[in-house]
Amino acid sequence: MTFRRKLLIVFALTVFLSVAGVALAVLALTRNAFEKSEDEQTTALVTQFQREFEHRGGDVAQRVERIAGLDLVLRMAAAGHTTSADSASYLDLAHSIAESWQLDFLEFLDEDGKIISSAQSPAKFGYPDPAFESLSRLNQQPAFLKLEELQDSNALGLFAVRATRVGDHPVYVVGGRRLDRNFLSALDLPPGMRVLLYENRTERFSAESLLDPGSGRNGTHSADKLAALVNAVQHSDKEMTGVVKWSPDPADEEVFHAIPLRGAGQDRALLGILLIGNSRAAYAELKQRIRDSALLVGGAGIVLAILLSSWAAGRVTRPVERLAHAAQEVAGGNWSSQVEVSGRDEIGQLADSFNRMTAELLAQKERLVQTERVAAWRELARRLAHELKNPLFPLQLTVENLVRARTHNPEQFEEVFRESSSTLLAEISNLKAIIQRFSEFSRMPQPQLQRVKISEIVSAVVQLFQAQLKSSGRAAITCKLDLDESLEPVEADPELLHRAVSNLVLNAMDSMPNGGTLTLRTRREERKAVIEVADTGSGMTREECERIFTPYYTSKQHGTGLGLAIVQSVVSDHGGRICVRSEPGRGSTFVIELPFERH
């Protein structure tokens, strides 16, 4: 990935993360504000409910008090024990009084707790009220919550008890009003809020027990979603808050604050649960708006960031790219590469330093070339001196021997002359050969490339040296061939390649004066053809290996030091490379790698 793209991504990510961060922060703040508002509204509604509860309770108590003072009730109390005939005349009494006094529940109980007349359960006349014991204790007490057992259901109501006593026969008047939709509808609800009442009739949640003033019937088809919250309050008997998701749409979420409603008496039984719901529609709408805005701003920001960062990255990266390009040129050998310095910032300083570096490198290279040239000349001079000195010394001796024979033994001069002449000719011939080799090295021809099979060239070389390998004048050298005949042809000059392999074979033979094994291999290695020439000779040290391809360097007593230099030159001219693996005493292996295709 280019530096410019990286910069682009960094800029875009920065903008996106910034917008996302701001959006999240705004969302968090919004949520906190809504939650705070919810808490305040819930608290206000609970206070309002309690106030309404007390108000209605006082109203119920007042009505029951007045009913207890009615003549009819006083006469009932005065009558004392009730008979069937009394029950018959009282059958509708509670109902008619309850209607007149607008009470939903009204019962008259005798001193034993038996129902004389009941508005809500007229058929229960003569039966004892199961809650009489606690009801009698609540006489003259403020109104309280009570779950009234009806024939086929229970109903939650606000009740009050007042006793009327004439003589020794009290009559208990138990009246109440239902906590129903009307009661809930009387509450002044802020927009988005609603109040539901759950009558705790059963151990587990029942939708039928839910009073929702907003619906036409007791529960709604999805009221079961309140089950978890109601059940939790039933178990914990504590106030709880929960979020109800009526549908997958977040706007249908509603936060419910559940408040347990307890009855009178010692056990303070859980009779109902007040559910204050606060719609999250407004919050969801606002959240959606924030999210949409964030996406819009983020999207626009990213586009803008891409444009701006593209421009900025271009300005920043263009000098860097030029530097990179110049560095690549330097790496490619063009040491004179220079970059434009476009400022005094870090990039400008870097470009200036680069220019100075390449200038310095160029100067050092020229100095190095001159030094190497001098060194090469010195080495050449040394080698020439060394090579020429060897034949010159016998020449000098032979000439001095001739002079001495002429002076001191004229009679033997002829014989000495003949011998010296042949020596002189031999040494001159030697000098000629030396000069010839130097001449040849200086005139290395350019390779004439053609498709050749290297295994065939190696075989030809071995064939050429077969006689020498088995000559009786030296220790025997065993030759092993491991040639890959399926090797594809390479583009090479067969004569030069033949010469290079021959030089390596000669070197190997020279390194095995006491005989050994010469191994020649050809193989394929990736996109290259490989020729290996291995011997089991004396081997070389690491230092020798490093210098072995230097022209005029030789480890042999009578070598010119040009053989391996010629090999390296040939391999190099073919676009290949040569290396050597060697260990003193264990032989050497020369490896030539030639590409199948030259570029």
Partner: protein, 452 residues
């Protein structure tokens, strides 16, 4: 002279008083009688078995149709559309009254009578002769004649969905289930009624009927039994029949095991009928342990109607499992609701599980069964409804008792109460009466408000 003058004055005053008195009691022709009733009849055909039996239906039928024979006030068969009859072996020949016309103007013929009887009783073999019809079957003369008094055996001419009768009133307007207007039949074989017409509003609750009466919108209404005492105390013109309506708990099916039969007996023993009668019904009717009321059978006291909770609990204890019975009732009748609730409470006292329900398919329900004026007719009809086969449908008192026992032993029915059919009329309706079988007789009724 002075004495004569005084004598003349006194005689004139007496004559005037007599004239005024005779003017108050002399029937007047004309006027429209307005009636309201609870039943909402979907058909006026008395043989339509889809229409539940009720006193209201019987009243309407009696106004439009006639039977071949009928009971007189002494519970003896008397002629109606049949002038006479002769029994011979397994046959009963009834001679059809002459010069009787249906409301559509056609004459009453033996063929029409036979067709009507065949329609109402598909199992009967009825043959028409020129002036008589012969009914063949495996029943006695008394049994057959008693059955012919039933309103379902009223003679009806059926023509393209329309019905026509020979009764004192013919149909003018009929809106199924809501309204019926009848007009006096001038050529009725029984003579023209005093009333010109009758307007019947159907499907009215007891409460609505009473409200209409108090507002003067109606002349004759039905009265709920528990209201009888109060209305009587108010001095209104109320009339009741003998206890003719059986209120009973009817199970949807027969008891499948002795254990279930024992539980049903426990339920019967747990119901405090006296408290129900005294309080919920305000003293109306009679607590019943039998199907037939005492006045009809004479032996009703043999069947206990008292509470025996200890025995009920004992019977309940014999059952390994207690079924949760669902007790149905007429949700439109407040008294029925109270009855159901009280019975559920009583059952609970005996350890039984009984829950009131408005479900259309309860395990048992409170049934209001209008009995017939004849004991055998009542038992026979009930046995047919309960699916209990009766070996005899007419006979001695012992056989009547045995038949009633057979129905009770089926376990499908628990008698609770016998209630009278009660009616209240406005003061302007005169000369009306309630028959012992619970229907209203308007044959001689007239309205004070009618023209002279």
């Amino acid at each position: 002279m002075k004495l004569f003058a005084w004598q003349w004055l006194a005689a004139s005053s007496l004559l005037l008083a007599a004239v005024v008195a005779s003017g108050e009691t002399r029937p007047r022709y004309g006027g429209t009688l307005r009636i309201e009733m609870r039943a909402a009849l979907s058909s006026l055909d008395p043989a339509d078995r889809n229409v539940p039996d009720s006193f209201g239906r019987r009243n309407v039928t009696a106004l439009i149709f006639d039977t071949l024979v009928t009971f007189d006030d002494t519970a003896h068969i008397k002629p109606a559309l049949a002038e006479s009859w002769q029994a011979a072996g397994q046959e009963l020949r009834l001679h059809i009254r002459h010069d009787v016309k249906f409301h559509d103007g056609t004459s009453l013929t033996a063929e029409t009578v036979a067709a009507s009887l065949r329609f109402a009783n598909p199992s009967w073999k009825v043959m028409a002769e020129p002036d008589s019809v012969t009914i063949q079957g495996d029943f006695s003369e008394e049994e057959l004649l008693a059955q012919l008094t039933l309103s379902r055996n009223a003679i009806v001419k059926r023509d393209a969905g329309k019905v026509s009768g020979t009764g004192p009133f013919h149909i003018v307007d009929w809106q199924s289930g809501s309204r019926l207007t009848l007009a006096a039949e001038d050529n009725c074989w029984r003579g023209r009624p005093f009333l010109d017409s009758i307007a019947v509003e159907m499907g009215k609750s007891y409460h609505d009927q009473m409200t209409s009466l108090q507002l003067g919108r109606v002349d004759l209404i039905e009265v709920s039994p528990e209201q009888v005492r109060r209305i009587s105390q108010e001095g209104r013109g109320i009339a009741s029949s003998m206890p003719i309506e059986l209120v009973a708990l009817v199970f949807a099916r027969e008891a499948l095991s002795p254990e279930e039969q024992a539980l049903r007996s426990a339920l019967a023993l747990s119901v405090d009928r006296t408290a129900i009668r005294d309080v919920l019904l305000q003293g109306a009717g009679e607590a019943a342990g039998s199907i037939l009321p005492i006045w009809m059978s004479g032996y009703g006291f043999v069947f206990s109607s008292g509470v025996d909770l200890s025995k009920a609990r004992q019977l309940r204890g014999q059952a390994a499992t207690i079924p949760n019975w669902r007790l149905g009732y007429d949700t439109g009748d407040p008294l029925d609701r109270l009855l159901a609730e009280r019975i559920a409470l009583n059952a609970h006292d005996a350890g039984l599980a009984l829950q009131t329900t408005s479900s259309p398919s309860p395990d048992l329900w409170i049934a209001h069964l209008p009995l017939e004026g004849d004991a055998w007719n009542s038992l026979g009809k009930l046995a047919d409804q309960m699916g209990v086969p009766l070996t005899k449908r007419h006979g001695s008192l012992e056989e009547l008792y045995a038949a009633e026992q057979a129905i009770l032993k089926s376990g499908r029915i628990i008698p609770l109460l016998h209630l009278p059919a009660s009616y209240v009329a406005s003061p302007g309706l005169r000369n009306w009466r309630v028959r012992s079988e619970g229907t209203v007789s308007l044959d001689d009724a007239w309205l004070e408000s009618a023209r002279q």
